[in-house]
């Protein structure tokens, strides 16, 4: 996305005006000032400067058509980065490819150049681009249109999504050489109507999957199945397209690409783009309670740091981990800086804002009208917002991969950039902050998905059967279908006759299946403050149980709303604007039982197993927490129905000990909490994707047991991954408690304030488990 301007700059040295010079100068100077500031430097536990690197270039490939070459030259581009040239040759050679290079390295040319070359030579050919969001698709469309315009080529390029007007849909279907869409639209709008897209499927030569790393977990498992359906239909119409994928840095891009597409994929990861100098700082808030190991609030520190930079007019992005945090920080920052810069110079950005709001913010960021932006990881993706100067992370973003994505937001082509990680008191944060080499030297996490998750796969087999009848013995991707097809026949969804299975149901299967979550419906948030009421956002039902229950304080655009009623049946939350000094935090309680054991290891005393579990969850109560001091100032019940899911889990069972059950319970909880907190380090998931349940005497094992389970129904591979990596995870959990500065255990390490030698005993238990298992 940034490549065009990037190359433009390289060959048109004039673009870097005096303004940019000034900004760079001052950021460097300001950094010197900071280094001289003792109170600042006291809290910096780590500082590293990554020097600028020079670009590696290659001439235009001979196979590239003259028109494309001229169009590029018109933009001042006379050669390619080496990885772009390599991608071009690989794709020309007919191999599917995944390209992994950092933000602003010109990834889009890696697929656009070979595809445009192909389309120039084969006017009937078609390409399909998949973007995880509509916004990214729009960006790509305008970029492509500009390039096509400059070539004056008869190549037609369209986006196709829910916003596409019915009048041009036919045109897109019949004549679009490049169709840019999202997996959801492919799933419910294109594949089930494939007979209207004959021209596309018969001539489909390339499929682009940008932002590959976003296709993990539940969403990735769904999309892998959508791609199975896509390839099945391509085969029916006689095409076998090449896949070109691009990804942010993750440990296993090639594996992920191959799992997603079930094709052999070549990896290109040698970045040829030059980078500017980056300064990386780990910032530790001071300890305020040595006994509990509690540090000052990272949010307060972030606020102070951010206002410092914003006041100096450095374009700054602040990443916060939750929607609530974003809103809290936004409120703080706006009130601090309102008088100096005006409220419009600082904006929030997160899912739940309406698309038009977001487009407007993106545009103003690019134009430099916004000095400060506070965002969730929504801005990690390749939304084009231009490059900023300072990036502040309020807490470790959860994965190494997203840390680098977020850090990549700062760094103008040949300008210094500053990245600050403000560690919170949380255990994972402290663990990472103490060991910056974890993310600086080690490879990031691997992205997991499980296309064979039964619930997901069965859903997509239904869709596939609706699209084309299955033949006996036909596989669905690599999945054997015999049992599933027979099951669907028994369920009267399919009808078997001879060798074939026919769709025999009056439903439209794709409508009932959402790729994004287990729930197909979102809760709509209706603001009743003014008449007429208006919809101000939406949220998935699972989150709604803890964020939109009755009396919850919902934060949106730095405004506070109280939920007056949550209509869970109708999926509507009615809110009204309020002005209070607290926010709410909900408790979620679970019951768990084992359904089936798949794998087990035991030494007679200790054992570990994984398999299917049933979990019944319920939001029970909420607390009111005061801003600033974070004290608990009240609570209330939540009356929402229980939800049951079947998923996959791992359980560790331990020997019964002579100690009292209270003590045992405490240790189990300590072990469970510490395991849960290190899990994201190894699983590339959010801490909230893995849940833990300790049981003093579990029904299944009759022993003290700790369960860890995957939040998504059916599981998406996290449990298997925990089972495999249990030793290293147990070690990390122990290590994290040992290095915690608290005395007897604190909420950050063992999950609660420790009693007597609890910290000690938890460490011992983890050490035992590590050696025994």
């Amino acid at each position: 996305m940034f490549l065009r301007s990037c190359l433009f700059f390289l060959y048109n040295g004039t673009e870097e005006g005096s303004g940019a010079m000034e900004a760079r100068q001052s950021l460097v100077t300001y950094l010197e000032e900071l280094k001289a500031d003792r109170s600042f430097m006291e809290r910096v536990t780590y500082m590293k400067t990554m020097e600028a690197t020079v670009g590696k270039y290659a001439p235009f490939p001979k196979e590239m058509p003259e028109r494309l070459r001229q169009a590029l030259e018109k933009r001042g581009i006379t050669s390619l980065y080496r990885h772009q040239e390599l991608a071009f040759r690989t794709v020309q050679g007919g191999a599917s490819t995944v390209i992994v290079t950092p933000t602003a390295s010109g990834k889009t040319y890696c697929f656009n150049l070979p595809i445009l070359s192909h389309l120039l030579a084969h006017p009937n050919a078609r390409a399909l681009y998949l973007y995880p969001t509509k916004a990214l698709a729009q960006d790509q469309n305008s970029e492509l249109l500009e390039l096509i315009d400059e070539m004056e080529a008869p190549i037609r390029c369209f986006t196709y999504d829910g916003d596409t007007s019915p009048t041009i849909r036919t045109k897109v279907r019949k004549a679009g050489n490049i169709v840019i869409t999202n997996p959801d639209m492919l799933h419910s709008g294109i594949l089930p109507h494939h007979t209207k897209w004959i021209e596309l499927f018969e001539n489909l030569s390339h499929i682009v999957i940008d932002e590959l790393h976003t296709y993990r977990g539940v969403f990735g498992s769904h999309v892998a199945n959508v791609i199975r359906r896509l390839r099945r239909i391509c085969r029916y119409y006689g095409s076998d397209p090449i896949f070109i994928m691009t990804s942010a840095t993750i440990a296993n891009p090639q594996e992920l690409a191959e799992r997603l597409t079930e094709k052999k994929v070549q990896l290109i990861d040698d970045n040829g783009a030059p980078t500017g100098r980056k300064h990386f700082i780990v910032y530790q808030p001071p300890i305020v309670n040595a006994q509990l190991g509690i540090r000052r609030s990272a949010t307060l520190e972030t606020k102070q740091l951010a206002s410092r930079f914003i006041k100096k007019k450095f374009q700054t992005i602040v990443f916060a981990r939750s929607r609530v945090r974003v809103e809290v920080l936004l409120t703080y920052l706006r009130s601090l800086i309102r008088h100096e810069l005006g409220p419009k110079s600082i904006e929030g950005y997160r899912g739940g804002y309406l698309p038009t709001e977001r487009r407007d913010i993106e545009r103003r960021l690019r134009k430099g009208e916004i000095t400060g932006i506070v965002s969730t990881n929504a801005l990690e993706l390749g939304v084009d917002i231009g490059q900023l100067q300072v990036c502040i992370m309020n807490g470790y973003p959860g994965t190494i991969a997203s840390l680098w994505q977020q850090a990549g937001r700062a760094g103008r082509r040949q300008d210094d950039a500053l990245i600050i990680l403000v560690a919170s008191s949380g255990m994972l944060d402290q663990y990472v902050a103490e060991r910056p080499e974890l993310f600086l030297n080690q490879s990031p996490e691997a992205a997991r998905l499980d296309p064979d998750n039964l619930i997901i796969a069965v859903d997509h087999i239904k869709c596939a059967a609706f699209e084309l009848p299955f033949r006996q013995g036909e596989t669905f991707g690599t999945l054997e279908t015999e049992d599933i097809l027979e099951y669907l026949v028994e369920e009267r969804v399919l009808h078997q006759r001879g060798e074939r299975y026919y769709w025999m149901n009056d439903a439209f299967p794709a409508h009932g299946i959402s790729l994004r979550s287990s729930d197909q419906e979102n809760v709509i948030i209706v603001d009743q403050t003014e008449v007429p009421n208006r919809v101000i956002g939406e949220m998935d039902t699972f989150s709604a149980m803890t964020l939109l229950h009755d009396e919850a304080i919902y934060l949106h655009g730095a405004d506070q709303y109280q939920v007056e009623a949550l209509d869970f049946e109708e999926k509507k939350a009615f809110v009204r604007a309020v002005d209070v000094d607290y926010y709410t935090d909900a408790n979620f309680s679970v019951e768990l039982s084992v359904l089936d054991e798949d794998e087990c290891y035991t030494n007679g005393v200790f054992s570990v197993a994984r398999g299917d579990v049933s979990v019944r969850g319920m939001a029970t109560m909420f607390k009111k927490i005061k801003f600033g001091t974070h004290e608990n100032i009240g609570s209330g019940p939540i009356h929402l129905p229980e939800r049951e899911i079947h998923t996959t889990g791992v359980w560790f069972s331990l020997p019964e000990t002579s100690t009292s059950s209270t003590e045992l319970e405490q240790v189990l909880e300590g072990v469970a909490n510490s395991l849960r907190r290190v899990a994201p380090l190894y699983l590339m998931c959010d801490a909230s994707d893995v849940f833990v349940v300790p049981q003093v005497k579990a029904t299944h094992t009759q022993k003290p047991t700790i369960y860890l389970y995957d939040r998504y129904p059916g599981g998406v591979g996290l449990a298997a991954s925990i089972y495999k990596q249990r030793t290293i995870m147990l070690r990390a959990a122990r290590d994290s408690i040992e290095t915690c500065p608290c005395l007897d255990g604190c909420p950050a390490c063992i999950g609660m304030i420790g009693v007597s030698d609890e910290k000690e005993r938890t460490i011992r238990m983890l050490a035992e488990m590590e050696t025994e298992l």
């Binding site: 089930p192 109507h193 494939h194 007979t195 209207k196 004959i198 039964l454 619930i455 069965v458 059967a465 609706f466 699209e467 084309l468 009848p469 049992d483 599933i484 027979e486 099951y487 026949v489 028994e490 369920e491 009267r492 009808h495 078997q496 006759r497 001879g498 074939r500 026919y502 769709w503 025999m504 149901n505 009056d506 439903a507 439209f508 299967p509 359904l595 089936d596 299917d612 079947h646 129904p713 059916g714």
Partner: protein
Amino acid sequence: MKNKLRRMLKTTETEPKTSPSSTDQEQATTAEQAAWLAKGADILTFEEEWIVRLDRRYPLTAQHGHRSFEAVFESLQLPHPPLALDVPLEQIIFFDTETTGLKGTGTTIFLLGFARFEKGELLMRQYFLPHPHYEAALYHHFLRDIGEDVRFVTYNGKSFDWPQIKTRHVFVRERVPRLPKVGHLDLLHVCRRLFKGMYDSYRLTRMEERIGFERTDDLPGFLAPMHYFQYVEHQNPDIMSGVLEHHLHDCLTLVSLYDECNRLVTHRQEATSQIRENIGVWLADLGIHDQSVKHFGQADELTAQGWFRQGMLYKKLRQYEKAKLCFEKSDSYEGFIELAKWAEHIAKQPTVAYDYTERAKNMLAHHQLLASRRERLLAELDHRSLRLQRKCRR
């Protein structure tokens, strides 16, 4: 594995089915065909496949609703522009389908058929797909029977039946004739125009009130898929009798409904003022001005919008005095705007025009309208007012 599936996906308890051997299957097929033949159906084969065709012939004296088919036969001889079907009679088919669900690739058309006049009779012909596998046979026979040059009369066929046929045709396109380029008259659109403002729903069964046909023991359309799924499992033609009957009535209703519409448009039947107005407006939209004038002329009373539209028609025909009368009767802001234009440009009476403009503004202020549209109209009227004031002063 299946246990796991059942547990995770919350199964409905059903008896596991054993799949029949191939000799069983052959015997079953023979029995199935015999059952259809016993009902007077034809079995049509194509390659390895077969389908069921049911014909019924009605003499022209037979009735569907309060008129005989003879009347329709005559109507069809009296082609009238908006309902014209410019082909020989036997190329006009009154067509309908039954499907397994909503639009989408996996939705199968299991029953299609038509009524058409041939050899002094009305032929009602249905093609039934005994198994989803045999679609090639279905389309092969259907397309061969109707030929290349054909006009469809349907109800909502433009957006449902025909696109769905196109979709399913794709799967067998290499084996069967191409789809004809159809001329298509969709009676749903016609009824919506003719009976505008008179019904809350324009479902076909509601329209049957007009032709005086009442169904007894009719199978509701939404149950048709269930019956078909049952049939596919048990292969007993009796399961389909309700659906076949329903479909047959749908086609016959199309025939009578066409006649009804044609009679109204060609003044061969009494009609309420509202219908006359609706037809007048419709024809005016189509640019059939002389006919439109006639229909308006036969209406005793018109709505405000009707008077306005008639006024616009006369204006277009340059019959300004008549137009003026209509606009006055319309008594709406639109009417006054037109009157203002007339007074300013035709009658050249700026004071009168000014007066009309003010009245239009007044009415507009109390009219339910999109805010943005009202703003725009008011701005235009203000502009006109100012201009007229200047003219008056002169």
